[in-house]
Symmetry: C2
Subunit: 403 residues, 2 copies
């Protein structure tokens, strides 16, 4: 019996092996992989697998940074070495003995975030927001179907799952008066899929066909949003303080290679695309991932990422087509994931239609936006091999009152 079989109930775990940065009470942060409810030291596994010294060196570190600076070939070798180690019956006893229960570790950001871009790539979400914010106008702006709209977010306030989120303060619009300063009254989430990038591209211009050379893996992302602060500030230069207080990401990065079984075709394109975005002849870059939004333990939505119009490959091609360079640790997120039904929407702005249609929880409470003490968890499930499901690392955060 292999370590994978010992430590997981489903065989899926052995091929998934998401990466994270963990520390025990005594030690400094180390790069690890998750297997079931345990963490394994990545470099120790690679040593067992007889990996090359260079591959061991880039994993014998605090987090993914050194591995991200390498290339796809190194990523694939390291992942294969880790899978080999946990699948080897001869090594099982030692590996199981050295595995650390998740309950005994502290998890950190799995990589150092370089630049962070947040996209707006889901048509259901963008249309809903357009209808809510700009009633009577076309729901999508004229550029929406021509390019994946995105903007830079604050990299320094990306926090690991589990970090408390203090309610932000700022200037809030008032119906007939000047804005007032105070705590946000419309604190919201945005359920997104984040993409961790690596393998530097010093001249940018990454074509669709090279996307897999630079997209290392996926993390669930919650782009916390203060809708009132955002609404007052965002014309003409976009969201700023309404977003920059916190963005939570899962502490486990799923390697892209583990999601081959989840690949699906993106939605039909109904507007001709520039060559650098035209993916009609490319392999499918959408993923069959459902994000469950869990509020204080209750599932309030199941957002289907596969409905997202713009793919990660298109986003990467777009954000570098102007020559913008790519650094290891660059990160982008899909934008809020929503489906066509109310129960598939990815934020409370949409679920409650701007607060006009409160959501009734199981205990009978009506809510619109988030209250102090509310805990929101994103759970992701992707199609895996053999008809199974692969669980992405969860992304959780609790709202606390303004500092």
């Amino acid at each position: 019996m292999s370590a994978a079989e010992h430590l997981t109930t489903a065989g899926l775990g052995a091929t998934h092996l998401p990466y994270g940065s963990y520390s025990t009470a005594a030690g400094v942060p180390k790069l690890g992989v998750r297997l079931g409810d345990h963490v394994l030291d990545a470099a120790a596994l690679l040593r067992r697998a007889g990996a090359a010294p260079d591959d061991i060196a880039v994993t014998d570190t605090a987090n993914l940074d050194a591995l991200l600076a390498r290339d796809r070939a190194a990523w694939d070798r390291v992942h294969a070495g880790l899978v080999h180690a946990v699948s080897d019956p001869a090594a099982a006893e030692s590996i199981v003995a050295e595995a650390v229960p998740l309950t005994e570790v502290t998890l950190h950001l799995p990589f150092t975030v370089a630049d962070y871009v947040d996209f707006y790539g889901n048509e259901f979400h963008a249309s809903n927001v357009g209808r809510i914010f700009r009633p009577g106008q076309p729901p999508l702006t004229p550029n929406w179907k021509h390019l994946p709209i995105g903007y830079h977010g604050r990299a320094g306030t990306i926090v690991p799952s589990g970090t408390e989120v203090p309610r932000p303060r700022g200037l809030r619009p008032e119906p007939d008066d000047p804005p007032t300063f105070g705590s946000s009254r419309r604190l919201d989430i945005e359920a997104e899929v984040g993409f961790v990038l690596g393998s530097p591209a010093p001249q940018g211009q990454i074509p669709l066909t090279a996307a897999a050379d630079h997209i290392f893996g996926l993390v669930l992302t919650n782009d916390w949003s203060a809708r009132d602060i955002q609404a007052f500030e965002y014309v003409p230069l976009g969201p700023f303080l309404g977003k920059s207080f916190a963005t939570s990401i899962a502490t486990w990065v799923t390697p892209l290679a583990c999601l081959d079984h989840a690949r699906i075709a993106p939605p039909q394109r109904d507007t001709p695309l520039a060559d650098y975005l035209d993916d009609s002849a490319a392999p499918p870059w959408a993923f069959d991932i459902v994000i469950e939004i869990v509020l204080n333990g209750e599932v309030v939505s199941r957002a289907p990422y596969g409905t997202t119009y713009w793919t990660a490959a298109q986003m990467l091609s777009h954000m570098t087509v102007n020559g913008a360079t790519l650094r290891p640790g660059d990160f982008f997120a899909s934008g809020t994931v929503s489906g066509p039904e109310r129960g598939q929407r990815g934020c409370f702005l949409e679920i409650t239609w701007g607060g006009a249609e409160p959501l009734t929880l199981a205990d009978g409470t009506d809510i619109t936006f988030l209250r102090d003490g509310d805990e929101v968890t994103l759970r992701g499930k992707a199609s895996g091999p053999d008809g199974g499901l692969l669980a992405l690392g969860e992304c959780t955060g609790r709202v606390v009152s303004a500092r």
Copy 2:
């Protein structure tokens, strides 16, 4: 005679001592200070001045990063130690002997950029842009006088003065047709003052009164802008590819403490401000700095930074009021600096009124936006002690054809 007197023609140099990261042909990058046309090793000077080991340690490095991570007291001690060293006649001979001519060094980014925020704080600029882009509507958006509008830019494409700027490509709007993909036809500059931040603020919320504890120094900044790409993409989430290809900054950072003589009152505020932005009782945070815009050697504008409505202290208070943390190496820029006259405008969009009023150069050529081969240099002059002028490090870049 002191080293300062040997190496500069004006006494101002000895108190200015801007910081930069330099390397000679043989060596690795080091933190230095500029004195006239020479570079001096910062740590070597501090050793001569008998500085504390900690202060020497944070300067015996490649750039400003370690010093930025300290606090204002350390910044002041280090600057004072450097001034002391170059003012000491007894040390002059050795210092002059060790000084490296600027012609013999390569200059690098003076610090590692963490997050980059670009503001929009000048009323002349914002009004002109409003009139050009949204004719018939009020030139300023309703939020403009209530808060300093800003957005995050791409930190990874901030480049040191002297770096060539390839013309970016992207989707450009066409009058009656779908957008076309190609090289920008409306490549522009934005003359700005940038502010280098340090001394971490893990809970954000930096009040106006603490601004000087976190603003380390100033650098001239050119926020290159592709107006056509920007115009098509920027609604509703703000500028993205129209800016993210390159932002140039000067290679010499002027310590804030050197600009006390340039402090002036900002423009009169005509809209009541929230407490966190109300600077009516605060020391003046505008600076009497004029930015000369030099196109291929010809001065085409003199933009007066002192006309900028929102101050750096207000910008810092604003960007952290929501709890956003501050890291060493965070950086923000003022937004384009313009004055009321045509000859004081800070970008070609304004100088040529969206291209409708070409600028005639000395050789009779009419220009609107930048051509391949054009070199733009920003030179800044601030009021210094004794009625003199203090020259900020210049920021230059040459446009080359699209890659």
